[in-house]
């Protein structure tokens, strides 16, 4: 359908398009009626409905119409701008218009997906379309700005995700800063003996990557360090990092461990964090033999010199390289990077939160991570699994889903526990020949080689019982002293079983780190409701965040196994490289700007900006806005008492126009006044 033919150059000529989105929109909204309605709106020259506007033919339609009908504004009613605003702006530009002469109407998320009443949904769509048509007439041509991207990349977190991302970036020639909070990199993977589904030894595959990080000329590795401040924007982040004192000089220590030997504590006395407190260490220690870097550290909480100032300091004497420096102070460093990969990982669920399984109360109840250490050849027992009283267990229970799939704790499935429980069953059986009873709800073995692994462990004779353990209590029988009874229904038999075990393993789930919310704020990204970092799109942008230039990888985004973690880390590195190699980045021009003549220099806007984009210029006595930092949040625009701050794409007249359009206050159009124009929709 088309409107009048002869037109003046400054006349507004709008093309309107409504998308069916297959059935997504068309099943609830009468798209034909909306298209007809649009023809009645001032300025609309062409109105069409089409099955998939985002498809190539859909976009071509816009471009063709721009030429055929001399359109100068485009409105598309379809899905969320998040998804396709860019697509349609590009189509508008390809048709020869400024891409900002475009406005999108979301009638999917905002209408068809949330309403059932067809008449009301159609009416609401019409209202929204009327608003957009009114608004787009008031749009101005805008030029997007480009910012340069610094080539340096920071990776935060040195678990397998961070290690893999750092190596990928460094191998492609980029300068990488890897920041790890603990004294060593390696993360959780460094604690495992073997890894499912292939049962390859974790150390054998991880240690070479850890040394590669240490020795890579392009990687600056800062362990025992934390990010304390992030400012700037995509391509130009300034990051402040706190380097905690190890009291040992990293440039001098060669990891000979003489000092540990020489410490006045002849015996190790303090809980060893890396071994989950299952063994002891001295105040001066190396977290584990393959720790990277191979540099010892001194823990001021337990060191006598720090506590009383009265130690013989035998460690200092023993070090012929003079590496020990008890005067070392915390250092604050600042680095400039263009992009950031966050790989801060997960924390295991605290088994004490499910008190009825007796963790922390009965001595032979362990978490899976503790068992990982106990079956590890480099662990506190040299890989021997023994009970607290020194006996070998004859029967072992493993309970799945502790702190997963549970309304009282964490609702999500932690994805790896089924498989690691099968792995532990295999390893425990191999080490002790014990009978293993695995209590599961469902075995989740999705992924390559996982079902085969399940098959293999089942054939090894592990008792797989489908039922969640409901009660754990000391075996009341005489011969059962020291044992625990696991009471559970075998749901496939409909029978309640009471199985006495010597050792109980709790397959605790994966959850967001307790400081995830702080890290989220620091980097200005979002978290999903359960607290894992949120990706920009669950399917199409799985490693991007809503903040440009910041990417996420590994279990900080959600529970996953090592293969998926590494794949995601590679993807995050690739996304960072995409920006770095493009060397510049186009900014959305919806920034605020100051009309200097009107600014009275009252400074009220300066402290309000969450992104520090505003400053005060003393010479001019005016506020200054750094467009590269402005995210277009509009806070200052609303706050300026003299109305001297405005915002591109959100000018007052555009917003009032939109409101007028929405309320129909200027047009007074209503549903029944259906226009008489003929439609040319396809």
């Amino acid at each position: 359908m088309q409107g009048g033919n002869g037109h003046k150059a400054d006349q507004i000529r709008i093309g309107f398009y409504i998308c069916h989105c297959g059935h997504n929109i068309a099943s609830v909204v009468d798209v034909k009626a909306v298209a007809v309605f649009a023809t009645s709106l001032p300025g609309v020259v062409v109105s069409r409905d089409y099955k998939y506007m985002c498809s190539d033919p859909g976009q071509a339609l816009i471009q063709q119409d721009i030429r055929d009908y001399h359109l100068n504004r485009i409105v598309v009613a379809s899905c969320s701008p998040l998804l396709h605003e860019h697509t349609f702006r590009t189509a508008t530009a390809k048709g020869g218009l400024n891409p900002f002469f475009f406005q999108m109407v979301n009638i999917r998320e905002d209408v068809s997906w949330v309403h059932e009443d067809r008449v009301a949904a159609t009416q609401k769509s019409m209202d929204l379309v009327r608003a957009a048509v009114r608004r787009v007439s008031l749009h101005k041509a805008l030029e997007p700005k480009r910012v340069a991207i610094r080539p340096e990349v920071m990776v935060v977190g040195g678990g397998i995700a961070g290690i893999h991302a750092a190596l990928t970036l460094a191998d492609s020639g980029k300068r990488v800063y890897l920041i790890e909070r603990e004294p060593t990199i390696g993360g959780h993977m460094a604690m495992f003996d073997k890894t499912f589904p292939t049962l390859d030894c974790a150390a054998c595959i991880l240690t070479p990557k850890m040394s590669a990080v240490k020795n890579h000329p392009n990687i600056t590795l800062w362990t025992y360090s934390e990010v304390t401040r992030v400012s700037g924007f995509v391509g130009n982040y300034t990051v402040q990092i706190k380097r905690k004192p190890r009291y040992v000089r990293e440039d001098l220590c060669v990891g000979c461990l003489e000092c540990i030997e020489a410490c006045v504590y002849k015996d190790a006395r303090f809980a060893d964090e890396f071994n989950q407190g299952l063994s002891k260490r001295k105040p001066v220690y190396l977290p584990f033999p393959q720790a990277t870097p191979q540099v010892v550290l001194i823990d001021p909480e337990t060191c006598i010199q720090f506590k009383s100032g009265k130690c013989k300091k035998t460690c200092i004497e023993s070090c012929d390289r003079n590496a020990i420096d008890l005067e070392q102070k915390e250092e604050i460093r600042e680095i400039e990077v263009g992009t950031i990969v966050l790989a801060t990982g997960f924390q295991p669920f605290d088994a004490r939160r499910v008190p009825y399984y007796g963790y922390g109360h009965y001595p032979n109840v362990y978490t899976a991570l503790e068992i990982e250490r106990l079956v590890n050849a480099a662990g506190p027992t040299g890989g021997e699994l023994i009970l607290k009283d020194g006996r070998k267990p004859k029967s072992v229970g493993i309970i799945h889903c502790v702190g997963s799939r549970d309304a009282a704790t964490n609702r999500w499935c932690s994805r790896v526990c089924c498989m690691y429980s099968l792995k532990l069953a295999h390893l425990i059986k191999e080490r002790t020949q014990a009978e293993i009873y695995e209590f599961y709800i469902d075995i989740r073995s999705a992924g390559k080689s996982m079902e085969e692994f399940y098959n293999r462990v089942a054939e090894e004779g592990v008792h797989l019982i489908r039922g969640k353990v409901g009660d754990v209590y000391p075996d009341p029988s005489e011969e059962g002293k020291g044992r625990l009874v696991l009471q559970a229904e075998d749901t496939l038999l409909s029978r309640v079983l009471k199985i006495p075990v010597d050792l109980l393993v709790l397959a605790t789930g994966l959850e967001p780190r307790s400081d995830a919310a702080d890290v989220r704020r620091l980097f200005n990204i979002s978290c999903s409701t359960e607290g894992f970092f949120m990706e920009r799109h669950p399917k199409l942008a799985p490693v991007d965040t809503f903040t440009e230039g910041i990417f996420i990888a590994g279990t900080c985004q959600g529970p996953k196994d090592i293969p998926d973690t590494v794949a995601q880390a590679g993807a995050a590195a690739a996304q960072a490289l995409r920006l770095v190699d493009a060397q510049s980045y186009e900014l959305e021009p919806n920034t605020a700007y100051i009309v200097e003549e009107l600014c009275s220099g009252c400074k009220s806007c300066i402290p309000l900006c969450p992104y520090s984009a505003l400053s005060y210029v003393e010479e001019k006595k005016k506020a200054f806005l750094n467009e590269a930092l402005c995210k277009g949040c509009g806070t200052c625009v609303a706050a300026c008492p003299s109305g001297s701050i405005r915002q591109n794409l959100f000018e007052d007249e555009q917003i009032y126009g939109e409101i007028d359009g929405l309320l129909g206050t200027e047009f007074g159009t209503i549903l029944d006044e259906s226009p008489t124009h003929a439609l040319t929709g396809r």
Partner: protein, 402 residues
Amino acid sequence: MLTAQEAAKALSDLTLDSLYEIPEGRQVLSCIQCGMCAGTCPYGEFMEYPPRRIIAMLRDGLIEEVFHSESLLNCVACYACMSKCPRGIHLTEVLLPLIKQEMFANLSEVPAELQAALQNTLRYGNPQGLSPRKRADWVKSLDFPIRILPDDPRPADVLWFVECYTSYHPRGQDNSRAVAKLLHALGVDFAILGNEERCAGECARLVGEAGLFDTLRERNVGVLRKYQFKTFLTAGAHAYDAFKYLYPAYGFDYPLEHTTTFLAGRLEALKPRLARKLNHLVAFHDPCCLGRHNGFYEEPRALLRAIPGIKLVEMDHHHINSLCCGGGGGGMWLDTYYKSKGMERLSERRVREAIKTGADVLAVACPLEVSRFEDAVKVMGYENKMVVRDVVELLAEALGGD
């Protein structure tokens, strides 16, 4: 949005046919058949149809078969399944009562002891079958007067709903005397309903006798309307539940307290009065209604800790994992039935756990428990080793003065 009363009403009017019309009912559809409910149920091993199978039968359209079983006579309404269900399904509160109601109607024979208790409750307003006119007789044994509202209907700060065992059973009366002494010592302005009070009916409802519950509820609400008070207090843990979850649908909306929460809230005033030292090692049994159902784990323990000389120990099962005494959901009158099925009395299993701790006092906070545990202690021959006391009895004793 529903108001609290509308929501309570929707719940109380629920039938199996309308189950999926409210969120608490629809939750049943989310069951993952994990068997946690059967695994934690103290009588799960004796249930042909534990909650998990009930849900499976319901989904498969075979629920009729469940109505013709006696399975849920073994449910002691202990809330263990409900509080551990990973889907948070309201089993003991919503699903099981509906099934029990159908099952109860289909029973070929109601176990005699239970039958008598229910009949007595209908006829006399108490399961013991004692005269309603003697409901307040225990008051005479006190050395100070207690205001009885029908005789003196002036407004009171606290209306104390005494409940049945605490009115009639000799050991229950000890509980009431203790509560009276404590309230008196604290200077609380309180009164009781005397002969106008009737059983709150929670047990009747949870055994599946919804009709009887309705009769009692109607009568009690009618009586309460006559008087003015600010706080509604009861020592009955089951009565507390009834007034908290079942009565609000019918216009009951008074601030509600159980004696333990009421006293724990006044601990600062009470503490200086607890002068007498009681040298006991005490194992505290979390009553199902107070603990699992309402989360009052700390209040009774705080009261016990406030008594000079008392040391607390925990049994193997405690807090959310506490073990039912076996008296809930009508279990109070099913001991003979359970015995005939070869089921161990839960009270005996619990006393064995208490003895294992070395404690000399088993402390409770629900009036059904005292007589159950005392009987178990006697039967098992531990009379010289252990006594059973309600928390309020220990508090009153610590007050000194007699």
